[in-house]
């Protein structure tokens, strides 16, 4: 009997505890969170799978080096407060990371268990701890004595929030400047409610405020003040301004009504809550929606359009599914919800009616040729394969680049050809003295966690820089 149990346990241990989710049929009609979160029992069972490796590989895979075996051990001991404290030692935004980090390519990808079976569900456990803390009431750590140094953080997205939290904990006075009316950057305007509830973002921002960080909203650097002026007023500046400028395809018909950048579509839906009739902001509700692109933003836009009531939503992507930059989980979720994937397909023009409304997207079939610079096989059009897809709403989700506004009045700040800021990978130091940068403004559009990692490294470098002053 005992043996049988043992066998059962060992088999169970190979497979991770599934995440409770809203069924696809239900969730495609609402904006509530898809993943419901582990129960205490789920978390304990999943945590017990961790082997507590002496030399944990998972930590190396984490851009902010969370002590993963450490916090999982505390979960096993049912010390959830201890676990969240352990996480927060290095990660100021665990409720967010637990939800939107691509763990499968980071910590979980290096988990030893993953070699033969399924890796430990680290992200789900992180989220469990963060949500547990929110239920219990968040503890605010004591802040060391003030150093007398002032740091300006431009942008309140993941990079800025992380840098601000770390810098204030080091005793510096931190002011965050945000151009929108809400803090959070892409966490507020970009990632949808069903993936990252805005209440979570609000709580995490509140925590950073409680640490003593001052937020100046509706404050545009590049318009109200220049970067140069900030340099005069503050001892150091961190730029976490992201990649906010949407790219368009440059094809005919792109300015027809009903054609949106993913930024606009998602901002209307997420930040301005256009899905809620109580709110004044509108978004065109499409019957047939085409989303162009293969990243997480494309998945977010497609799934949002579905929830707004579209009859059919297609993702049009010029390469194959293998090449899609979106997280596997997002692609699976989108498929489950009934999004049509039109792969190896590229739009060539958008058609419209006499009232200037988009009616269809003309596409061409593609085939994969030789690998390009990024290592992905580059798609080439198949001659004569044009066809049209009806579409009254088209969302262009093919990427973004840094907003050039910030560079007005930023003497001596070097940029790359693509408009990104040149910054040291380890420190975030830029060519401009006292100015550090990190996140999408340096890398171009990437992930929340890589921006956080950059914010963290820059905070450390800024602290060292200030000590030398």
């Amino acid at each position: 009997m005992q043996e049988l149990n043992g066998e059962k346990t060992s088999k169970a241990k190979k497979e991770r505890i599934p995440m409770p989710e809203q069924p696809a049929e239900e969730r495609r009609k609402n904006f509530n969170e898809v993943a419901l979160g582990y129960t205490k029992e789920d978390a304990l069972a999943e945590a017990s799978r961790c082997l507590s490796c002496k030399e944990p590989k998972c930590v190396e895979g984490c851009p902010v080096n969370v002590d993963i075996p450490g916090f999982i051990k505390l979960i096993c001991e049912e010390d959830f407060s201890g676990a969240i404290e352990k996480i927060k030692g290095t990660n100021a935004l665990p409720a967010i990371c637990g939800r939107v980090c691509p763990q499968e390519t980071q910590c979980e990808a290096l988990c030893v268990l993953g070699k033969k079976g399924q890796s430990v569900a680290i992200g789900r456990l992180e989220r469990f701890c963060a949500d547990y803390e929110h239920q219990q009431g968040v503890k605010v750590p004591e802040i060391p004595e003030l150093t007398g140094k002032k740091v300006a953080v431009v942008g309140s997205g993941p990079a800025g929030l992380t840098a601000a939290a770390d810098l204030v904990k080091m005793g510096h006075k931190v002011t965050v400047f945000e151009s929108l009316h809400k803090a959070g950057g892409v966490l507020s305007y970009g990632i949808p409610e069903f993936r990252l509830p805005k209440e979570i973002v609000r709580q995490e921002v509140k925590y950073i405020k409680q640490l003593g960080v001052e937020f100046k909203l509706n404050y545009i650097i590049g318009r109200i003040k220049t970067l140069d002026e900030l340099c005069d007023e503050f001892d150091a500046v961190f730029m976490g301004t992201g990649a906010g400028l949407p790219s368009f395809m440059g094809i005919p018909g792109e300015n027809f009504n009903g054609v949106y950048s993913a930024n606009e579509f998602l901002t209307r839906v997420n930040l301005m809550k256009a899905y809620d009739p109580e709110y004044d902001t509108r978004v065109r509700l499409g019957k047939h929606v085409v989303v162009v692109g293969g990243g997480n933003v494309a998945m977010d836009a497609a799934r949002s359009a579905l929830r707004l009531g579209a009859e059919e939503v297609s993702i049009v992507y010029r390469r194959g599914e293998e090449e899609m930059p979106a997280r596997r989980e997002e692609i699976e979720h989108a498929k489950e919800e009934g999004i049509t994937f039109r792969l190896l397909t590229n739009p060539v023009r958008i058609l419209g009616d006499e009232k200037f409304n988009a009616t269809a997207v003309e596409c061409i079939k593609m085939e994969l040729g030789e690998p390009d610079k990024s290592g992905r096989r580059s798609p080439v059009p198949v001659e004569g394969s044009e066809f049209t897809i009806p579409a009254d709403v088209v969302v262009i989700a093919i990427g973004t680049s840094p907003n050039p506004m910030i560079f007005k009045g930023s003497e001596g700040l070097d940029q790359n050809k693509k408009g990104t800021v040149v910054a040291d990978e380890e420190t975030g130091a830029t060519s401009k003295c006292g100015v550090f940068a990190g996140g999408d403004v340096v890398t171009g559009a990437a992930t929340v966690i890589s921006a956080m990692g950059a914010g963290k490294k820059a905070a450390k470098a800024i602290d060292e820089y200030l000590k030398e002053q």
């Binding site: 545009i220 949106y260 606009e264």
Partner: protein, 281 residues
């Protein structure tokens, strides 16, 4: 954040002037720029041009006409009350330089953004000929202010109730025909008026600028909703504009894009008015 309304007055039927306490915006504001405001948490972000600013007092003046739900709601606010959000200055400032003689043409509510430009062009030593118009004399705004800020002021009304009986562009044409050397014409008003005005001025050897008021969300280049075709290229009104070379603007596209939410807007305004009648607001 909250921004206090210091003064509010109805300067023409359904046209209101508000002075807002917004020192950061006032300090940085320049002629030709705009702001975006949001009334409350559930409100939409609407762009409004800056009609005046006082850097010392830290105030920004806006002028708006009751059109949709938000402007109708805004009209109900009084001095002493607060707006949830007020962000700016947005847009590239008007290219104000000493050029010689400049004609400023404003129609309807478009006279509001013209006023800071009139002051700015005069200040740097231009001869400023302003032409302002409206459907009738009651709807004419900022007559005194424009008179003070300009070297010459002409008035036109569609119904002839004041000044020239006809369009502002008729007067503009007369001046251009008079042989006076004019370096630049700036036209601000409803898109159709700017289109017609640009057409009238085009044959003359004169620079023509218009200031566009596209639909936008953030006003910082992030959404691209305000895109407009200028010289065959897509530009963003919020950051590349709002001022553009009138000869190169695709006005038909602009007007079509402005109509994008017209149906929904009308419904929302109607619903709001109905609720007002029922005493809900």
């Amino acid at each position: 954040m909250a921004y206090k309304i210091l003064k509010k007055e109805e300067i023409a039927p359904s046209v209101h002037r508000m002075v807002i306490d917004a020192p950061d915006v006032a300090k940085a504001a320049k002629a030709g720029q705009f702001i975006i405001l949001r009334i409350d948490e559930k409100g939409e972000r609407i762009p409004l041009t800056i009609a005046d600013f006082d850097k010392e007092k830290g105030t920004v003046t806006i002028i708006f006409q009751e059109m949709g739900k938000t402007t109708k709601q805004l009209a109900k606010f009084s001095a002493g009350e607060f707006l949830e959000d007020f962000v700016g200055p947005l847009g590239t400032p008007a290219d104000v330089r000493k050029l010689g003689t400049v004609i400023l043409v404003g129609g309807g509510i478009g006279v509001a953004p013209l006023y800071p430009q009139a002051k700015a062009y005069s200040k740097v030593g231009n001869k400023v000929i302003s032409i302002i118009g409206a459907r009738n004399k009651d709807l004419l705004i900022l007559e005194e202010e424009m008179k003070d800020a300009s070297s010459e002021l002409y008035i036109a009304t569609d119904d002839g109730s004041k000044g020239h009986h006809g369009f502002v562009t008729n007067i503009m044409k007369q001046i251009l025909d008079s042989g006076e050397k004019v370096a630049r014409v700036v036209i601000i008003g409803p898109p159709i008026m700017m289109k017609v005005g640009a057409g009238v001025a085009s044959p003359y050897d004169v620079e023509i600028l218009v200031s566009l008021n596209s639909i936008m969300v953030d006003g910082t280049g992030m959404c691209g909703g305000c895109r407009v075709t200028v010289d065959g290229k897509t530009r963003f009104t919020c950051v590349d504009g709002p001022e553009f070379d009138a000869r190169k603007v695709d006005f038909v596209q602009l007007m079509n894009r402005l109509a994008m939410y017209r149906g929904e807007e009308a419904k929302a305004a109607e619903k709001y008015e109905e609720e007002c009648r029922c005493g809900l607001h």
